[in-house]
C-alpha cells in the first residue's frame, strides 16, 4: 500500500514581484517500508517537495495523499492532526526547543497527542535509548552537540509512531563523522521497517536509499 502519493505537483512562489516555479509537475509514490532519497542541486525544489508532501505547504496545483487521505481536502485542524500522528519531520537545523531537555523535546509531540504522562515518558526513554542518548536525557538542547541534537530530533520524529519520516538534509549541519552516525541511524530505522523520504546533498546518504529521485529545475530527471 502506498503511504504517500503525490501527483503533478507544481509550486510557484512570488519573489520580488516575479513568479518563480519551484516545482513543475512532480509525482512521487512511496510505499510502506521504502527508503527514498531526493537529490539535486540547490534550488531545484527538493525542500519544497518535502514541505508539500508533509502538509506544511500547499501546492499551486496537483494533489498529495497520505495513507489515502487527500491533504487538500483537510482543514487546518485535520491537517495538523495528520502531521502529528502520521508524519515525522527531521530538519537540517534540528529545531529542538532550547528551553526543554532532550527527554521533554521527545515527549512534546506525544503530550500534544494526549498520550498519558507515564506512557509517553516510557516511550521517550525508549526512543532516546534507541538513538543512543539515554545518558543525555536531562540535558537541554543547548547542551547537546550537533549530532546529539539531530538524534534527539529523530527520536522526536518517531514519537507518535508515524507512517513516514520526512528528513530535510539531516546531515547538512554535521561533520563527516557525525554524519556517519546519522546515516547508520537511518539505516537502522529502515531495517526496522520505517518509511523514509530524505532530501539530501549527501551522496553517501543517497547511496543508502533504496530509491533515488533526482530533481533539476523543479522536475524529476529521467
Amino acid at each position: 500500500m502506498s503511504v504517500l502519493v503525490a501527483r503533478d505537483l507544481t509550486r510557484t512562489y512570488t519573489l520580488h514581484g516575479q513568479p518563480v516555479e519551484a516545482l513543475r509537475g512532480v509525482s512521487l509514490d512511496v510505499a510502506r517500508g521504502d527508503y527514498v532519497a531526493i537529490t539535486g542541486p540547490s534550488g531545484c525544489g527538493k525542500s519544497t517537495l518535502l514541505q508539500l508532501v508533509g502538509g506544511i505547504d500547499v501546492p499551486t496545483s496537483g494533489t498529495v495523499s497520505v495513507l489515502g487521505t487527500r491533504l487538500d481536502q483537510l482543514d487546518d485542524r485535520e491537517l495538523t492532526r495528520l502531521r502529528l500522528r502520521r508524519i515525522g519531520f527531521v530538519f537540517q537545523r534540528f529545531h529542538l526547543l532550547p528551553v526543554l531537555t532532550a527527554l521533554e523535546n521527545v515527549e512534546l509531540p506525544m503530550a500534544e497527542a494526549g498520550m498519558p504522562r507515564r506512557e509517553r515518558l516510557e516511550r521517550a526513554h525508549e526512543l532516546l535509548r534507541y538513538v543512543g542518548l539515554e545518558r543525555r536525557e536531562r540535558h537541554r538542547a543547548t547542551q547537546l552537540s550537533g549530532g546529539e541534537m539531530q538524534r534527539v530530533a529523530i527520536a522526536r520524529a518517531l514519537a507518535n509512531r508515524p507512517a513516514i519520516i520526512l528528513a530535510d538534509e539531516p546531515t547538512g549541519e554535521l561533520d563527516a563523522a557525525t554524519g556517519q552516525e546519522i546515516l547508520a541511524l537511518f539505516r537502522r530505522l529502515h531495517a526496522d521497517g520505517t518509511t523514509l523520504v530524505v532530501v539530501t546533498h549527501d551522496d553517501r546518504l543517497a547511496a543508502e536509499a533504496g530509491r533515488v529521485v533526482r530533481l533539476l529545475d523543479g522536475r524529476v530527471l529521467g
Binding site: 505547504d57 492532526r81 502529528l84 537545523r93 528551553v99 527527554l103 512534546l108
Partner: protein
C-alpha cells in the same frame, strides 16, 4: 514535562523578563493606588463621621459642620427637644472657639471645644477620665496640646478667652485641671485642642447668656431609623440644617469628584501601559521564536496550543508584576497618605487610600484579564505564521 512549557521561554532572556515585570509592577501599583484613591477618601470620611455612631448632624442653616463660624442658639432647648424624640438615643452640642493658654511667658493659641459628655461624638478618651456633668474646672486635652503645654492628667493650666490681639486684653481667664487626654476625631495633625463642658466654653467665648453651639451630633436608635429622625427634625426645626451622614457623604463626594476623575484617568493610563508593555514584550519574543513556532506547527502542534502558551506567558508576566505591584502600591499609598493627610485642616484620621476587598478584586481581575488579552495579538501572529515560508526564512 509541564504543559506550560511556554513559561520557560520567560527565562531565556532573564533581564528582559525582569524589566518587563518591573514595568508591570510600576503600572499595576499605580492602578492599585488609583483604585484605592477613587473611593478611599469618601469611605474614610464616612468611617470618620460614623466613628462614634452619630448618624445625624444639626448645623446652622445652610452650612456644613465646622464650615463657618456660624452658631446655633439657644442650644439647650434644642438639645432637650431632640432628646425627646423616641428614636434618638443621644444628642450633644459642640462649640468650637479660639482660646489661648498661658505657657511660660507667652500665650499659646488653642482650639477650644465645648462638649456635653452625655452625648459627645467628637473625641475618644486615651488617658485619665472624662468630664463629669458638673465639673466646671475640668479640662480634656488632645495629645498635641498636651505635648505643647507639657501637660498630663492632674496638671493645671490657665486658659485665656476672648483675647483681643490688638490690645492684648483678655475677656476671661480661668485655671483648669486636666482630667483626661483625648483624641479629637476631627482635628488635623497640627491642631492643639482642649475641651470643657459647653457652658464653661461658652463663657470663654462670650459674655453670660450666650447659649450657642457650632453643631449638634445626634445618634438614632439604628441606621435605618436615622432617615425618619432626620425628616422629623427638619420639620420640627426649620431654623437649623439637619443632615444625615448619607447627605454629608453625598455633599463630600461632590466636593472631591475631581479625585475620582483623576484616579479613573490615571488608572486607565496605567492599564494601557500594562497592556502595551506586555504586548510589546510578547510580540518581540514571538517574532524571535517564529522559527520555533513554525517547527512546532510542522510537528503537529495545534494553533490552540501555541496561542495558549503565548497567553500563559502574558498571564505569568501579569501575575508576577501584579503581585509585586500590590506590595509597591500599598507601600506607595501609605507613603502618599502621610504626605496628603498632613495637609492643614484635614482630620488626621482621614485616609486618601483605603483598601477595600471589592476594589482590590476588581483591580486584580482587570489587570489579569487585560494582561492576558495583551497577548492576543502576538499569539495570533504566532498561530498564523505560514509554516513553510517561516522555515525557509530560518534556512541557512
Amino acid at each position: 514535562m509541564s504543559p506550560l512549557w511556554g513559561l520557560r521561554n520567560l527565562a531565556r532572556h532573564p533581564l528582559r523578563t525582569v524589566l518587563a515585570v518591573l514595568g508591570i509592577t510600576v503600572a499595576s501599583a499605580l492602578l492599585l493606588d488609583m483604585v484605592l484613591l477613587a473611593g478611599g477618601l469618601e469611605r474614610s470620611f464616612e468611617r470618620l463621621v460614623l466613628s462614634r455612631g452619630y448618624q445625624i448632624r444639626v448645623t446652622p442653616k445652610g452650612t456644613l459642620p465646622f464650615d463657618t463660624e456660624a452658631t446655633i442658639g439657644p442650644v439647650t432647648p434644642l438639645v432637650t427637644a431632640i432628646r425627646r424624640d423616641p428614636d434618638v438615643v443621644a444628642a450633644g452640642p459642640i462649640l468650637a472657639v479660639a482660646l489661648h493658654a498661658r505657657h511660660a511667658d507667652s500665650l499659646l493659641p488653642l482650639v477650644g471645644y465645648g462638649v456635653d459628655p452625655a452625648g459627645q461624638g467628637s473625641y475618644d478618651l486615651l488617658e485619665g477620665s472624662d468630664l463629669a456633668a458638673a465639673d466646671s474646672a475640668g479640662l480634656l486635652v488632645g495629645r498635641t496640646a498636651a505635648e505643647a503645654l507639657g501637660l498630663s492628667v492632674g496638671d493645671s493650666v490657665r486658659l485665656v478667652g476672648r483675647l483681643d490681639p490688638q490690645v492684648a486684653t483678655t475677656g476671661v481667664q480661668r485655671t483648669m485641671v486636666v482630667r483626661g487626654v483625648v483624641r479629637w476625631l476631627y482635628d488635623d495633625r497640627t491642631m492643639r485642642s482642649v475641651g470643657t463642658l459647653l457652658p464653661v466654653m461658652q463663657r470663654f467665648a462670650w459674655p453670660a447668656g450666650n447659649d450657642r453651639a457650632s453643631l449638634l451630633m445626634v445618634r438614632a436608635r439604628d441606621d435605618v431609623l436615622a432617615a425618619s429622625v432626620v425628616a422629623r427634625l427638619r420639620e420640627a426645626h426649620p431654623e437649623v440644617g439637619v443632615n444625615s451622614v448619607t447627605d454629608l457623604v453625598g455633599q463630600f463626594r461632590e466636593r472631591i469628584s475631581y479625585f475620582r476623575q483623576v484616579s479613573v484617568i490615571l488608572g486607565t493610563i496605567s492599564l494601557a501601559v500594562t497592556v502595551l508593555l506586555i504586548a510589546t514584550i510578547l510580540t518581540i519574543t514571538v517574532n524571535e521564536r517564529l522559527g520555533e513556532i513554525a517547527t512546532l506547527r510542522a510537528l503537529g502542534v495545534a494553533r490552540r496550543t501555541v496561542v495558549t502558551q503565548v497567553l500563559v506567558e502574558g498571564a505569568a508576566l501579569t501575575l508576577a508584576g501584579g503581585a509585586l505591584g500590590v506590595l509597591l502600591g500599598l507601600g506607595t499609598a501609605r507613603y502618599l497618605d502621610t504626605i496628603l493627610t498632613a495637609f492643614p485642616g484635614l482630620p488626621a484620621s482621614i485616609s486618601f487610600f483605603v483598601p477595600q476587598r471589592q476594589g482590590l478584586v476588581t483591580a486584580a481581575a482587570l489587570l489579569l484579564v487585560t494582561g492576558t488579552l495583551a497577548g492576543v495579538w502576538p499569539a495570533w501572529i504566532a498561530a498564523r505564521a505560514p509554516i513553510a515560508a517561516t522555515l525557509r526564512g530560518e534556512a541557512p
